[in-house]
């Protein structure tokens, strides 16, 4: 029989440098390709399209020449404490992985009640109003490491857990119990041309992400809720860091999602 295995604990997290983000949307495309999110129709909204990575523009509402704006990639913030979506799910379709800290969504368990979408403070969850549709050619490039979802279930960012699986099985095939950190990098991190996203283990103090997360100008969205998201944002600009404390209007959704207000 197998020997007893107790895995080392990880706490995967991210720091997104908003000063480096230029809103190109490469992360959103890479995310969709990696996670089998079907291509959206033109000018899609939350009713007819899905994106796990939503990029909005936020402006400081000042007149020129003081006007400034920033792109905010918003996706599942991987709340560590009192994870709102997990707490409300009647199906146990959401759980916080004890070894990685990833808030996992299991769409196959989901019954589609959408409590989690209501509970999520970040609007980072998406409901499949329709069955996913791919064009014939696109079916050939579906990722076999991620199961496609069906109509009637909720989905969200799982920190590219398909890539974590792949890294784990590669390590195991070489006889290692621990993965090489370079093997597990989410698609958005890999695709960002400006290297605005840093990813890694937050427990290990030596990682770049752990140091960035503790640095002075790093903040988290809606931190006063106490959910301790593992996705951090970084900006040298004061108004950017304070934006979640105010009510802000998304002036324009970069990838065409419906305009919404973030109430802070």
């Amino acid at each position: 029989m197998m020997e007893t295995m107790t895995d080392k604990k990880f706490k995967y997290g991210m720091v997104i440098d908003l000063d480096k983000c230029n809103g190109c949307g490469a992360c959103a495309v890479a995310c969709a390709v990696e996670n089998n999110v079907p291509p959206a129709v033109e000018k899609m909204n939350k009713r007819n399209g899905i994106t796990w990575m939503n990029i909005s523009t936020v402006s400081n509402k000042e007149q020129f020449p003081k006007s400034e704006s920033v792109f905010v990639p918003m996706f599942c913030q991987q709340c560590e404490k009192e994870t709102p979506c997990m707490t409300v799910c009647p199906q146990n379709a959401v759980d916080v992985d004890p070894t990685t800290g990833i808030v996992g969504q299991i769409p196959q368990r989901c019954l589609g009640c959408r409590y989690c979408m209501t509970a999520c403070p970040y609007h980072a969850r998406y409901f499949n109003w329709w069955d996913p549709e791919w064009t014939e050619g696109m079916k050939q490039q579906l990722n076999p490491d991620v199961a496609p979802r069906m109509r009637g279930v909720v989905e969200k960012c799982n920190f590219c857990h398909g890539r974590l699986h792949a890294a784990k099985q590669k390590a195991a095939s070489q006889g290692n119990r621990e993965i090489d950190p370079a093997e597990y990098i989410p698609a958005c991190v890999e695709s960002c041309p400006n290297k605005a996203i840093t990813f890694g283990d937050l427990i290990d103090e030596t990682t770049a992400v752990a140091q960035l997360a503790k640095s002075e100008n790093t903040f988290r969205f809606l931190s006063r809720l106490g959910t301790e998201p593992k996705v951090h944002y970084h900006s040298e600009k004061k108004w950017v860091r304070e934006m979640t404390e105010k009510t802000l209007t998304r002036t324009h959704a970069a990838n065409g999602l419906a305009q919404e207000e973030i109430h802070g």
Binding site: M5, A93, T100, P107, R109, H165, K168, Q169, S173
Partner: protein, 193 residues
């Protein structure tokens, strides 16, 4: 007396429907496209090990049933007189066409199972989950659930849910039990993709 007969008869009728008629209606019988004898390869004559054909690649991904090229390494022309052998060479190897096998142990899309950690790190033997498949003489009929499309082997042979051998059934409850017995505490995404 009459009511007793009716009730016992009713129970029997229900059992027959549930035990025989329903499974018969629920599962589609698939005959394999070719007959294949594992024992001819793994027995004394062949002397091959499971890994010789069912291997993992450099990424640690299990390759499943080997491609036709693997068969062609030895069977470029028919070995022996058997009908199956002749058909394999003529229908599949010569035109370089893959054999459309029905897989007994294919898991649903949302289940992530990797052989590498179980075999390399956990030290599980193939027989633990696949039973005596490696020394079988012929390929039995594969049964597919008409509704879900999953193989009946996933559920296990016995409809009552009891299994006496470790290789009967490949359901989640079995994975969870073994992981629990070995001191693992896993989240859902450990095994779901």
């Amino acid at each position: 007396m009459r009511s007793k007969i009716i009730s016992i008869g009713g129970i029997l009728f229900g059992l027959i429907i549930g035990w025989y008629v329903f499974p018969y209606a629920l599962y589609r019988n698939n005959q394999q496209p070719l007959q294949f004898s594992h024992i001819a390869h793994t027995g004394e004559k062949g002397g091959m090990a499971c890994e010789d054909c069912h291997s993992t690649n450099s990424e640690g991904r299990f390759q499943g049933i080997p491609a036709i090229a693997k068969c062609a390494e030895c069977h470029s022309s028919p070995i022996g007189e058997s009908k199956n052998e002749k058909r394999m060479v003529e229908d599949y190897i010569t035109p370089n066409k893959e054999i459309p096998w029905f897989v007994y142990s294919r898991q649903p899309d949302n289940a992530f199972f990797s052989h590498a950690p179980h075999v390399k790190l956990g030290g599980l033997k193939c027989e633990e989950c696949h039973g005596q498949h490696g020394s079988s003489e012929f390929l039995r009929t594969q049964q597919t659930n008409r509704i879900s499309g999953y193989s009946r082997d996933i559920w296990g042979a016995n409809i009552s849910g009891f299994s006496s051998n470790s290789w009967e059934g490949m359901k989640m409850s079995k994975c969870v039990r073994c992981h629990g017995d070995n001191g693992r505490r896993d989240g859902c995404i450990e095994c779901h993709k």
